[in-house]
């Protein structure tokens, strides 16, 4: 929104500026009735392509309709810190492009970047064999190009990060797939878009390794009943098997195309 502080490292605009205000307002209640022609248990189609960033050790670009983000993996490389660590360190940094949200984001790091980074970190950290990389750091960088709900962002970010790690040839226990769900009343919708998530009572994000049927992350917000949350997790876990297939397919086809 407003660019409050003068930053001599960037080209600066006016001291203050505001998002345009529209006379006709969207009704927030309409969020849940958003039409997108998919069933409650359907997720958005995933376009996933590994190896897009040629400079990185591994990378992936993911697009699920309006959620678009790129992820690159650098490492394992020597940790900067001097203290010895027996296990490798995983570092996840998330950056939203200034134009990625409905309101312009200031280019400075904010709390949401960090929140998404922590969630993605939790999703993928247990899948990596960090004990094989003493003294090393694996950097995972994510740039969100277009954001359609923080839930989708975390889920897609985890998928892209896991794919990029596999693309970088880093040893892992399994691929991490992730899926989100929104609950309103008794109705559960998988992979909600931003408006749906805003209109929902609560949301659940699940990350798991379908190959090992183990869960690496559970992230629930808003209000949900225990039964509702468990039901969401089960539905998400089922859907993650499909996501896993997409990930495996994209990795295999990228391998065969590059020879």
């Amino acid at each position: 929104m407003a660019q409050s502080t003068f930053d001599r490292r960037r080209v600066n605009g006016p001291e203050e500026s505001f998002s345009p205000v529209f006379d006709e307002e969207d009704d927030a209640e309409l969020g849940w009735t958003v039409k997108h022609g998919r069933g409650l248990a359907d997720i958005r189609p995933i376009f996933l392509q590994p190896g897009l960033v040629s400079q990185a050790n591994g990378s992936a670009y993911i697009e699920t309709e309006k959620t678009k983000l790129a992820c690159a993996v650098y490492g394992p490389r020597q940790s900067k810190t001097t203290t010895y660590s027996e296990r490798g360190r995983l570092n996840v940094e998330v950056k939203f492009a200034p134009f990625s949200c409905v309101r312009r984001r200031s280019p400075l790091r904010d709390a949401e970047d960090r929140a998404v980074a922590i969630a993605v970190y939790q999703s993928i950290v247990s899948s990596i064999c960090l004990e094989l990389f003493p003294k090393s750091t694996i950097d995972v960088f994510i740039v969100v190009i277009e954001n359609d709900g923080i839930e989708g962002c975390i889920a897609s970010g985890s998928i892209a990060a896991s794919t990029a790690l596999a693309d970088a040839g880093i040893e892992m226990l399994g691929l991490v797939a992730s899926c989100s769900a929104g609950v309103r009343g008794d109705e559960i919708r998988l992979d909600p878009v931003e408006k749906e998530a805003a209109a929902a009572d609560g949301t659940v994000i699940l990350a798991c390794m379908p190959a090992l049927s183990s869960i690496t992350n559970v992230y629930q917000s808003g209000r949900v009943s225990v039964q509702g949350a468990l039901k969401c997790m089960e539905l998400c876990q089922d859907r993650c098997i499909d996501v896993h297939a997409v990930m495996a397919q994209s990795l295999l086809s990228s391998r065969t195309s590059t020879g």
Binding site: Q122, G202, I215, V218, Q220, R223, V224, A229
Partner: protein
Amino acid sequence: MTGLSKVEISYIRSSLLSDPPLRADGRAPEDFRPIAVETGVAPLANGSARVSIGQPRAGRGHEAEGAGGGTEVVAAVKLEVDGVGDDEEGGKVICSVSCSPAAYPHLSSPALDDLQSDLTSLLGSVLSHPSLCPQNLVIVPGQKAWALRLDTIVFADAGNVVDCLMLACRAALVDTRVPSTRSVEYRAPGRQSGTLNEVPDDLMDVDQSRNGPSSMLETRDPSSAVDFELADYWDEGKVLESRDSWPVCVTLNMLPTIHFLDATSQEETAVPLRLHTMFSFPGGKPTSHGMRMAGAGTSDMTQIGLLLKHAEKYARNMWIGLEAKLAEEEARRSVKAREKFYGGRRR
């Protein structure tokens, strides 16, 4: 502190897995250390609470390592008047956590910053969720609202800091009073004013603050209320509307076959995987406000299903305990507040 040695970690883990499970201080897996709650600790705040888990060994410095000690947190709520943006309903909850460097003497300052922002984002994602925003933070619909700043400070961390933080937050929020306000309206003379005047000797037309979504219809009406004033009355104000929804947190530390509660720092190091669950029981009905898995390790559906059932039970016990304590504190408080107000007047 350089963490624990491998043998210490394996000793803690194997003790927990032995039958019956055993912990360093003799507790059973589902036992908490003694919890102390005190509200109204910050006189200048609109609501505040101090919570400690385990016995704080204040003033004994770094000996917290290995020797137990306690986790101690203070939470305080300050209300600030804030403009309402064009597409906002008004009222917001802003959380922040700061960690005293004394609580983490072994952390470098960037690591401390990271920890603070991690805890802040955890608290914020649960407590600042729109579903918890109290309706009565609106002062003048479409114009002004209270911004609720919930600041917490971690004074000592001997493990299980998240549960302690959430307890302190709930206690402080329940302790919070929103000052009574009345909207002030400027009207052309001669117009009929249908106002309810609580204090008759007021000079201006006053209108009792109208809260809730019903008044949202008038936000674009230029002749409606534009400003407000504070009521001068012994009562400090009204409680927050969603006070029965602010959740408590129970952290379940997970080993493959068992789980345990209220881990000490050593236990947290030895058993990194945990599940934070936030529950509230408005009207006795359990509602989950947040779940976060943290730490390296994996779980599975059956374990999580089981954990959640247990978590609900533990959270309910904690909720009931906290409610009883808060009711006690409240009784004490209103007497104190009344005395303070009239005492101040007489002087």
